[in-house]
Amino acid sequence: MAKHSPVIGRYVTIDVDGYEYKVFYLRNGQGIPLVCQHTAGCHNHQWRGLLEDEEITKHYDVIAYDLARHGKSDPPLNKEWWKEEYRLTASHYMNFIVALCDALELDKPIFMGSSFGGNVALQLALHHPDRFRAVIPVEAAEHAPGFFLDWWRHPHANAAQVCASGVWDLMAPQSPDMDRWLTWHYYTQGSEVFKGDLFFYSIDHDLRGKLGNIDTRKCPVIMMTGTYDYLTPPEATENTARQIPGGIYIEMEDIGHFPMSENYPLFAVYLKEALRIIETRT
């Protein structure tokens, strides 16, 4: 008897600022759409645990997509993308997410992302509060400088290993070996885009002085960060949440920057609390 997963993968083609993207997404569940963004230089397998979590999928329609140029979502099909350096901007990133939600005809989804996905969640709460039921920025902050580095695609080093081992200690030592090495494995696959993603993460994303404009009555913001995250340490997230009127911060013990991927059972405890809070507020 074959062991099939209930998770289904599909492609959908969207237009974003004149760029044609054929987007791959994984989906399972029913109910409120829960749209999930992977971390920079990675892909949607980071959400493998959530996609098969029956406690969540019986109430939530979980959709984990690959951002263009990641995983099975190709670079734009109508551009000679190899002739220019890839640098992701906040505007294009948000337009991508909104266009994808439109294409899938999602009614007020919850948006959740980690790291650069968490930072864009903050951007969405500020710029598109009417489009989302709530956002869950994971491992996010108002500003996250310091990671837009040439080492990620240096021609004299093995970029796959530099990216994968360069993010190794973003994970907690307590997280299971298998899950940490799977995350390492995913990170060997995205080295050509990692630095371009981090242009958004460390450079273009800067909400300092703007967080007070987020309206959490329209779009609640539940932030969560792990204690082993050195890049966006807990105090950075807490400080961000404190500046958002009505913003909520949940600290996650003994986990790092890739919580959904490095230790899903532990992450799920905190995620269920976040979803419970959203349920009471929407």
Binding site: H154, A157, D169, A172, P173, Y230, P233
Partner: protein, 129 residues
């Protein structure tokens, strides 16, 4: 009681040479690095994934490719079986604590997979400070 540096060198060398994760991709893991622990320094010379030599008394002109420098207290944190947050890796400690990464960092990046694995062996072996 602090472990003597020569005993440490033997234990570290044996543990590293036996490590299966390094062994799985050992070829070309060839580089020389200094670990400056404040009161104690060592230069580890790697050849094709094996510890070729550990210099436990480095002199001023002894060569190496790159170096990690931090206080003895930080190295003791590195060596805990489960380090506290921000002491759990070279990136974490260089971003948030007193670890300095110096020298030819390109060589470190070229060998980052195995060097990262090897650094974490301190959690099993301990440190001589």
């Amino acid at each position: 009681m602090v472990m003597g540096v020569r005993d440490w060198a033997i234990r570290f060398g044996e543990t590293s040479d036996r490590d299966q994760t390094i062994g799985a991709m050992a070829r070309y893991y060839t580089c020389t690095f200094l670990w400056d622990m404040g009161t104690q320094k060592v230069i580890v010379e790697m050849v094709d994934g094996k510890v070729y030599r550990i210099n436990t008394d480095p002199q001023p002109l002894d060569a190496y490719d790159f170096a990690l420098r931090a206080s003895p207290a930080t190295w003791r944190e590195f060596a805990k079986p489960i380090p506290d947050p921000m002491y759990h890796g070279i990136w974490a400690a260089s971003f948030r604590r007193d670890l300095k990464i110096e020298g030819n960092i390109l060589v470190m990046m070229q060998n980052l997979r195995n060097f990262t694995v090897q650094f974490e062996l301190l959690r099993k072996v301990g440190v001589p400070v």
